[in-house]
Symmetry: C2
Subunit: 189 residues, 2 copies
């Protein structure tokens, strides 16, 4: 997606060799017009997959996922990084480790919001080692729903996530694919 690659090049910032800071347009200050275009691209790619609902993880995935769900005319489900006191009912939970950040969190969702048999499109801002996507997959499948596809805004193609998803036969569509970020220079695949 040209518009996105342009935003990454002009407004992104590489920190070290593996962190791409895109807080000027994606996850802190948000270019909502770009998010709308991103939503349209994901919807176009996955329309044939008969998606019943879109899922994402709070909070950076919400804006692109909301516009995707709007285009596909399906509900959005926001998976939570921590259980709320008022999150009651039958809860699904798994632990997600972030290798990039060196942290881990409990990913939770209400079973009711991932109905058995539903085809779910998972949308996220980044794909690196794929831990978040596989955490989402675990929740979706433990509810009896199906992970029908993964839509990623920025894929770090040099990390293991893309290959891991491919091995599992999960359709992956990344709008920007970064081959390397050596010496602060972003090279797209």
């Amino acid at each position: 997606m040209k518009l996105l690659e342009q935003a990454i090049t002009e407004r992104g910032k590489v920190i070290g060799s593996d962190i791409l800071l895109v807080d000027t347009f994606l996850n802190h200050q948000v270019d909502v017009s770009l998010m709308q275009e991103i939503g349209k691209c994901f919807a176009e790619r996955f329309r044939a997959e008969k998606i019943d609902r879109v899922a994402t993880i709070e909070s950076s995935g919400i804006a692109p996922a909301a516009f995707t769900a709007l285009c596909l005319e399906v509900p959005l489900v926001i998976m939570k990084k921590q259980a709320s006191r008022i999150l009651t009912g039958d809860l699904l939970a798994t632990t997600v480790r972030s290798f990039t950040k060196g942290t881990q969190y409990d990913l939770t969702a209400k079973r009711d919001f991932l109905p058995s048999g539903d085809r779910v499109l998972f949308i996220d801002d980044f794909l690196a080692s794929g831990e978040a996507a596989f955490g989402a997959k675990k929740l979706i499948e433990s509810a009896g729903a199906v992970l029908a596809g993964v839509g990623i805004v920025i894929e770090k193609s040099f990390q293991s996530g893309p290959e891991r998803l491919e091995k599992e036969g999960i359709p992956l569509y990344s709008l920007a694919r970064i081959a390397s970020m050596e010496d602060g220079k972003i090279v797209f695949r």
Copy 2:
């Protein structure tokens, strides 16, 4: 907003006397088509206020705030509940206490994303005692920007937030105003 009141009545659930669970359409499973209508309503009400950017707090405010920002054709700023390791630069921070939840968190935002002189519209899912709105106000004003208005999806009119904002002369627009929730029955103002 009739459509919202209908959603609250049909899909909301009162827990105790002060908690309204709306995770079926607002903050866990999200009715994005309703969020788009909410965004249009906020944009229409605040268009004359010459808004330069919309701000919200992660993560339940993001969906309605994103659609509002899109309608107003301005950027969205997501204030963070905890500082990210990669959130670098000149950071603004304040502590927000949630009386409803009995918790507190550090609200942070990059100064760069609240430029001095900008007129900011703050959007949130709930208004209760107003602690979140006043936390946002503090960050906005400490950056030299102006809180030009507050747009709330669901106002608990029986709590202190609405009166506190009025006393400060801050334009408040709530799409649903709940007068009481006694015995599980929602009464709109």
